[in-house]
C-alpha cells in the first residue's frame, strides 16, 4: 500500500511538472505578448514590463525562474488584472468552484444510483425503457444546452428561480441541476447495466432462496458490488464536471474559476492560465488516487500494482 501511494505521488509530481512546463512554453512561445493584444507597446516599456513579470531573457531563463517560483508556491502576478496575484485569484475563485462542483458531484451520484437501480428493478418493462430513453436524452443534452433552456423556462417563462449570481439558496438550484443532470444520466446507465449483471450471479440466487425480500437483496447485497464501476467512474466524472462547470459558471455569472480561465486564455494571461491548469490537474489526480485506494478497500480481490 505505502509503496503504491509513494509511486503514484511521484508520478503525480512528474505529470504536474509536465503540465506546467507545457502550458508555460506553449503560451510563451506563441506569438503576441501577454500585456496587450491589439495595441503596440513601445519597446522600452515592454522591456520594463517583461522584467517586472520575470519574462525577460531567453525562454530557457524565463522558464527556469517560473519553475522556481511555482515550486516555492508563488504562482506570480496576473498580467491582465495587474494588482492581483494568481494565488489571490485562486483563493477567491477556487472555493466557489469547489462548492458548486462538490454539490453537483454528490447530486449526480445520488440521482444516478437511484434512477439506475429503479430501472434495473423494472428491467424490460415500460418504466425501464422510458427511464433509459430519458437517460440517453440526458447524455445528449449537455449542461450548456440545458442551462439556457432552464433559464428560458423556469427563470423567464415561469419566473420561479433566479437566473444569475451566487449566494442565495435559490441561485444555487439551476446551476447545480444543469451541471449534474446530464452526468446523472450516464451514472444511471452505468448502475443499471452493472446491477443487472450482478443480479444474475449465484450469491443473489442464494439470497433469494433464503427468502429475503427484493429490496433488501438489492440494497444490502447487489448494490454493494454493482457500485464498483461507479466508484471507478468518479475520476472521469470529476473531470467532466470540472469542464462542464466552466460554462455553467459563465452562463449563470458565478464567480468561479471557469470564467477566469476562459478570459485568461483569450487574454494570454499566462500565469493565471498556468495556475488554473495546475490546480485543475492537481485536484483531478488526487481524486483519482483516492478513488484507486477506495476501490481496493471495497473490493478485496483487487491488488495494487
Amino acid at each position: 500500500m505505502i509503496p503504491f501511494i509513494f509511486r503514484r505521488l511521484i508520478l503525480m509530481l512528474l505529470t504536474l511538472f509536465t503540465v506546467v512546463s507545457l502550458t508555460f512554453l506553449l503560451m510563451r512561445l506563441a506569438p503576441g505578448n501577454p500585456f496587450s493584444a491589439d495595441r503596440k507597446i513601445p519597446p522600452s516599456i515592454l522591456q520594463e514590463l517583461e522584467s517586472k513579470y520575470g519574462l525577460s531573457g531567453t525562454i530557457g531563463e524565463q522558464y527556469l525562474s517560473y519553475l522556481k517560483d511555482v515550486i516555492r508556491g508563488d504562482l506570480r502576478i496576473s498580467t491582465k488584472y495587474r494588482d492581483w496575484s494568481v494565488n489571490e485569484i485562486l483563493a477567491q475563485t477556487l472555493p466557489v468552484s469547489m462548492a458548486l462542483g462538490s454539490v453537483a458531484f454528490c447530486l449526480t451520484l445520488l440521482f444516478g444510483i437511484i434512477l439506475g437501480s429503479f430501472a434495473a428493478l423494472y428491467q424490460g418493462q415500460w418504466q425501464d425503457r422510458s427511464l433509459m430513453l430519458v437517460a440517453l436524452l440526458g447524455i445528449s443534452i449537455p449542461s450548456y444546452i440545458l442551462a439556457p433552456l432552464f433559464i428560458l423556462f423556469f427563470g423567464l417563462h415561469l419566473g420561479w428561480l433566479s437566473v444569475a449570481g451566487f449566494g442565495n439558496a435559490d441561485q444555487w438550484i439551476l446551476p447545480v441541476l444543469c451541471l449534474s443532470l446530464p452526468f446523472s444520466a450516464s451514472v444511471a446507465r452505468l448502475v443499471r447495466t452493472s446491477l443487472l449483471e450482478v443480479l444474475t450471479q449465484d450469491f443473489i440466487r442464494t439470497a433469494r432462496a433464503k427468502g429475503l425480500d427484493e429490496s433488501k437483496i438489492i440494497i444490502r447485497h447487489a448494490l454493494r458490488v454493482a457500485l464498483l464501476p461507479v466508484v471507478s467512474y468518479a475520476g472521469p466524472l470529476a473531470a467532466n464536471l470540472l469542464t462542464g462547470s466552466m460554462v455553467v459558471e459563465q452562463i449563470f455569472k458565478i464567480p468561479g474559476m471557469g470564467p477566469f480561465f476562459i478570459n485568461s486564455v483569450l487574454n494570454r494571461d499566462l500565469f493565471v492560465v498556468g495556475g488554473i491548469v495546475l490546480v485543475f490537474s492537481l485536484i483531478l489526480m488526487s481524486l483519482n488516487l483516492f478513488v484507486d485506494l477506495l476501490y481496493t478497500l471495497l473490493d478485496r480481490r483487487i491488488k495494487l500494482s
Partner: protein, 297 residues
Amino acid sequence: MKASLLQILWRDSFLRATLIAFFALLIIALFGSFFLEHPQDQNSALQFSPPCSEHWLGTDFHGRDLLARLLSGLRLSLFVGSIGAGVSLVIGVSVGLIAGYFGKKIDLILMRLVDLLYSLPRLVFVIVLISALEKPTAHFLEKIHLSEMLPHVRLLLLFIGLGCVEWLTMARIVRGQVLSLKESTFVLAARALGQSHTQILIRHLLPNLTGIVIVYLTLTIPVVILEESFLSFLGLGVQAPAASLGSLISEGAQYLNPFEIQWWLILFPAGTMALLLLMLNLLGDGLRDAMDPRKKK
C-alpha cells in the same frame, strides 16, 4: 462485416426507425439549403422575427433566416464530428494495436499514458492548444502557400485537438481485442509462414477489428460534436460568420433576457443538437449491445 452491422440495426424496429430518421436528417442537412428561398443574407429590417410562414424558424440578430443557419451549422457540426472522430480512430487504433500486440514494456507505458490522460482535464489542454497554436498555424499555412485555408485555421486545430484527446477509449477497446486475438491460431499460422509483424498487424489483426472499431466510431462522433460545440460555445471553436450547432446555441443564449424573449434562437438549435446526438447515441448503443457476446439471447 459492414453489411451485417446494418442488418443488426435493421432487425430492431426501433433502431430501424432511428436509422431512417438519421439518414433523413443527413439528407436534409446536406441538400436542404438548395431548396431554401432565403440564403443567409442579412436584412436588418427583419431582425428577430419570430417563426412565420416566410421564415419557418424565425430570424436572428442580423435578420438571417434561422433555418438556413441551422442547416449550415448542422453540416459543420457533422463534418467536425466525423473528421475529429476519424483522427481519434487513427490514433486510437494504432496505439491499441501496438500496445496489445507487442505487450510487455510498450503495453505498460502506453496504457499508463492512457490512464494518466483519462485523469487530466483534457478539454482544458485543447483550449490552451487552440489559443496558442492559432497564429503559428496560420503563418505556417501562408508559408506553404495554402492561404485559401486561412479562414479554417480554427477548424483544422479543432480536428487535431479533439482527435488527440478522444482516442483513449478506442485505444483501450482495440488493445483488449488484440490481446485475445493475438493468441488465436491464425496469427500463429501467419507467424509460422514467416510474415512480419507489420503484415500480421495490418493484414490479419486489423480486418478482425473492423466491427468493434465502427461501433466505437459511432459512439465517438457524438462526443466530438459535443466537445466542438462546447468550445464554440465558449468562443474558441468555429468563428463567425460560419456557424456550428454550438455557436448557434451560444448566440441564442446571448440574447436571453427578461424583456424580450427570442425563444426560437435557443430552442431550435438546442433541439436539433439534442436530436442529432440522441440518434447517434441510440445507433451506437444498439450496435454495441448487439455485438456484446454476453447479451446474446
